[in-house]
């Protein structure tokens, strides 16, 4: 951030973010309790996607097991709250995040030395293993019956908590990607040999990205656990959660600051809409829409937005080829 003076562009960007934020602050005033639940789901998905974006988007390692950290966050939060110490919610959630980060470090150190595809498979295995542990460790997790948390029913509490975490997530992401760490992550993604030769000690920095992504997932897990009251292995270690965060990030734009949030919004909107229109075919229709996005906007909506802004500003003429360039970017010749 070399220039102190803000350009007009930055002022407009900041203003629109502010307007959006204020609008989100007033959502609970104008929406029913049921609708608010969808908004909270969007924010929790955004939080998970932001985390996945750090390892999958910026560092370029397709993690397929982040649901493990979601589950660890959920169980840690729940177990601490119902333990004999009766830890309050926020400290409990915080502990869950720390534990998830530690687990990510232990798993990451061997697994992040693997190349991309093998890493993906290994993380998938880890997610399955954590589910099995939660399922069979009866004395602690009460197996497949699951645990019950103290009841808290006001939807606004969860909505505002999630909103605050997402805003913090955006700020954290923005700061991280502008730091040396962020540059190192992108260098690792673009070419690992080049990154190493440029003086980057890749393994610890990859592990850090993985641990931070685990923190986001664990916070989302803790919040969801408290909201759902009941935590079971089947509900919290679902592969579906991993897929959702990946899809949301891709729809919005991998390796962009706002992409995961935008993508989560679009995903939640589509999911809710499709759910009400096609109850029977819900997964099929949603699947088709996702395929559409992957084929026609593989770089995500953020790239379309930034290209669109260039056209509006008159820096670029609108051309259909521009849209196709986005499609071609990820084709095999």
């Amino acid at each position: 951030m070399p220039e102190r003076k803000l350009s007009r562009r930055q002022v407009i960007a900041a203003a629109s973010i502010l307007v959006l934020l204020v609008a989100l602050l007033f959502v609970p005033k104008f929406r029913s309790e049921y609708e608010l639940l969808n908004y909270t789901r969007f924010l929790i998905l955004a939080l998970m996607a932001q985390g996945w974006n750090l390892i999958g988007g910026y560092t370029g390692y397709a993690a397929f097991g982040n649901v493990a950290f979601f589950g660890i966050g959920a169980y840690t939060t729940g177990l601490l709250m119902i333990s004999k110490w009766a830890v309050p919610f926020f400290p409990a959630m915080f502990c869950g995040a720390i534990l998830a980060a530690l687990v990510a470090v232990v798993i990451g150190l061997p697994v992040l030395r693997l190349k991309g595809h093998y890493f993906a498979i290994a993380t998938l295995g880890v997610a399955e293993a954590t589910r099995e542990i939660a399922d069979t460790w009866d004395s602690v997790t009460q197996g497949s019956t699951g645990i019950d948390l103290p009841v808290r029913s006001e939807g606004e509490f969860f909505y505002y908590s999630a909103l605050a975490l997402v805003v913090l997530g955006v700020i954290a992401t923005a700061l991280l990607v502008r730091s040396k760490l962020g540059y190192a992550w992108v260098a690792i993604r673009e070419d690992q040999d080049a990154a190493r030769m440029l003086g980057i000690n890749t393994t610890p920095l990859k592990v850090l990205a993985f641990a931070l992504s685990a923190v986001f997932a664990a916070l989302a897990g803790g919040l969801t656990a408290y909201q759902n009251i009941h935590v079971t292995p089947g509900d919290f270690f679902k592969l579906e959660y991993t897929l959702q965060m990946i899809i949301a990030t891709i729809i919005g734009g991998t390796g962009t600051i706002f992409g995961p949030v935008l993508g989560a919004g679009v995903y939640q909107l589509l999911s809710t809409y499709v759910w009400t229109k096609f109850i029977e075919l819900h997964p099929t229709v949603l699947g088709l829409i996702i395929i559409f996005f992957i084929i026609f906007a593989p770089r995500g909506l953020m790239s379309l937005v930034s290209e669109g802004l260039k056209v509006v500003r008159g820096q670029k003429r609108f051309r259909w080829q521009g849209l196709l360039a986005n499609v071609r970017a990820h084709r095999v010749t």
């Binding site: 951030m1 070399p2 502008r178 730091s179 040396k180 540059y183 190192a184 992108v186 260098a187 993604r189 673009e190 070419d191 040999d193 080049a194 990154a195 190493r196 030769m197 440029l198 003086g199 980057i200 000690n201 890749t202 390796g255």
Partner: protein
């Protein structure tokens, strides 16, 4: 043996002792001994498959030699990871260029400035400013805002050089930075390389363009089938029969020798 030519000093900056590298049954390098003197431009030539790039990979830590040891500034770097070697002051370019495609040209170079020998002392803003300085020096500043993915091959070769220079190396390995360049571009690249050397950086230059390597090198080393077959003053080295033979084949070499005997 003469320690060094024009620019070299007597100080040994890097010493490779008995470097061998085997890939399965293939002996890519067989007991290479080599000294690089501070301040010199050491040219390396040899036919395709002679082991030039393998040698650079072994020195720069991207690959480990099967046996032998490497001392850089007196430090044993044989088993050091490449990032640590880079921070110690040894940088390289890649023959098959490795740009960070989605980053701008300026940010590509800034990464080198952030993590190289002086990286720890620079903030990201300072690294970016230094990157601009480097780009100006090598004449790539007009592309600094472009993504690396948009560059042409000659510009990508220059970007490789810029990234390596941003690391503030004492020793720089250039792996065929002139391949694919036309005559004018080669002239410019030679001037650039001389300038880099004048700024105090010792150079190890692998090149196929014979005119270029003869024009810039203080000393020349010839590799052939993983062995060092000649070393010394450029003009003398390329007239050695074994070098001519390695490059042109036995029959042609005999003809050359024959012509010399009876002018």
């Amino acid at each position: 043996m003469v320690a060094s030519g024009g620019n070299g000093t007597a100080e040994v900056l890097l010493e490779a002792r008995q470097i061998s590298k085997r890939f399965g049954g293939l002996a890519a390098l067989q007991g290479i001994d080599l000294k690089i003197f501070r301040g010199e431009i050491l040219g390396v030539i040899g036919p395709n498959g002679a082991g030039k790039t393998t040698f650079v990979n072994c020195i720069s830590g991207l690959d480990k030699p099967t046996s032998g040891e490497i001392l850089f500034k007196g430090v044993d770097i044989t088993k050091m990871p490449s990032y640590a070697i880079g921070r110690l002051g040894l940088a390289r370019t890649f023959q098959v260029v490795k740009p960070l495609k989605q980053l701008t040209v300026r940010d590509n170079v800034a990464v080198g400035a952030m993590f190289g020998a002086k990286g720890a002392t620079r903030t990201t803003a300072q690294a970016r400013a230094y990157a601009e300085e480097i780009l100006e020096r090598i004449g790539l500043q007009h592309r600094q805002g472009h993504k690396a993915a948009e560059l042409t091959l000659p510009d990508l070769k220059r970007l490789e050089l810029a990234k390596a220079l941003a690391m503030n190396p004492e020793l720089l390995f250039l792996d065929e930075v002139m391949a694919g360049l036309n005559q004018t571009e080669i002239e410019r690249a030679m001037e650039l390389i001389r300038g880099v050397n004048r700024s105090g950086i010792t150079l190890f230059v692998i090149e196929h363009v014979m005119k270029a390597i003869m024009g810039i090198s203080d000393r020349v080393v010839v590799l052939h089938f993983g062995k060092k077959i000649a070393e010394g003053n450029p003009q003398e080295v390329i007239e050695k029969p074994e070098v001519v033979e390695a490059y042109l084949g036995e029959r042609f070499a005999k003809r050359v020798r024959g012509e010399r005997k009876s002018p």
